[in-house]
Symmetry: C2
Subunit: 135 residues, 2 copies
Amino acid sequence: MGGRFPIAIHILTLLSKAGDDLLSSDYIAGSININPALVRKEISNLRNRGLIISKEGKSGGYRLGKLPGQVTLADVYLAVKTQPVLGAAKNTPNPACPVGKQINKNIDKLYANLDKTLLEKLTTISIEDFSNQFD
Amino acid sequence: MGGRFPIAIHILTLLSKAGDDLLSSDYIAGSININPALVRKEISNLRNRGLIISKEGKSGGYRLGKLPGQVTLADVYLAVKTQPVLGAAKNTPNPACPVGKQINKNIDKLYANLDKTLLEKLTTISIEDFSNQFD
DNA sequence: CTTTACTGTAATATTTAGTATTACAGATGG
DNA sequence: CCATCTGTAATACTAAATATTACAGTAAAG
């Protein structure tokens, strides 16, 4: 899954604490300690989901697109997810084998099931909840 | 997470269906369509967990180490897990920032929480359950 | 007791995905 | 019109996953 989920959480936590103030990608990158362009790229993705609002030009920057209590970790998960949580095999199972022939379908079913469980949990936690853990 | 979880499930499903018969790494690799050495490597790991028993020498091979109903997907998950399901960031957050300073601890707490949720679910599904889905 | 068919494991190469960097056009406020 | 910011693409770099090869060790079978 890479590190995009924790990065996204970090970004949103900073914005949550900043309230209506706009934060720059440079500032955010300084807290996370990664490249500003990467911050902007991830924010571009989160913005497409309505989680962040951006303002261009001088004195531009970023703020949350919703109230911190209205942004759930499920939103974040869905925004950054590219692969199934338990991993995608890159093999092509043997279709001549009864197990090989059906395993992908059954793995998919399992993964949908697990995703549902995970999302139910993630929906109960907001960015506000998460950022309240900080001093 | 890579593809180790689905590969492990595939292996265990084949063994579950084979009952007391021993399957060779070549046969298993043929169903999954990956290299036999990789199969042996993953099985080596699963064997350390008691999920598989192996027999060396001519007419050697593999069979389940427990009844199919006694091997849960939680066992498999714990056997193959190397990274947190929602990903580990590889940055070092800025300790001079209040958020950066505490985020790793809070992410860890969150992950422990999510892992618990996931494991509870995975514990309810056995390899027998999974392999019964096949014709 | 030698041949054959397996496992166990390490060393190495290859591929792929993730991350980092650079660059620059576009927007906006001063 | 200059300074400071975002948006985005192109490219390079790094690290992790996977594949391949090789071979020693083990056990069955003749």
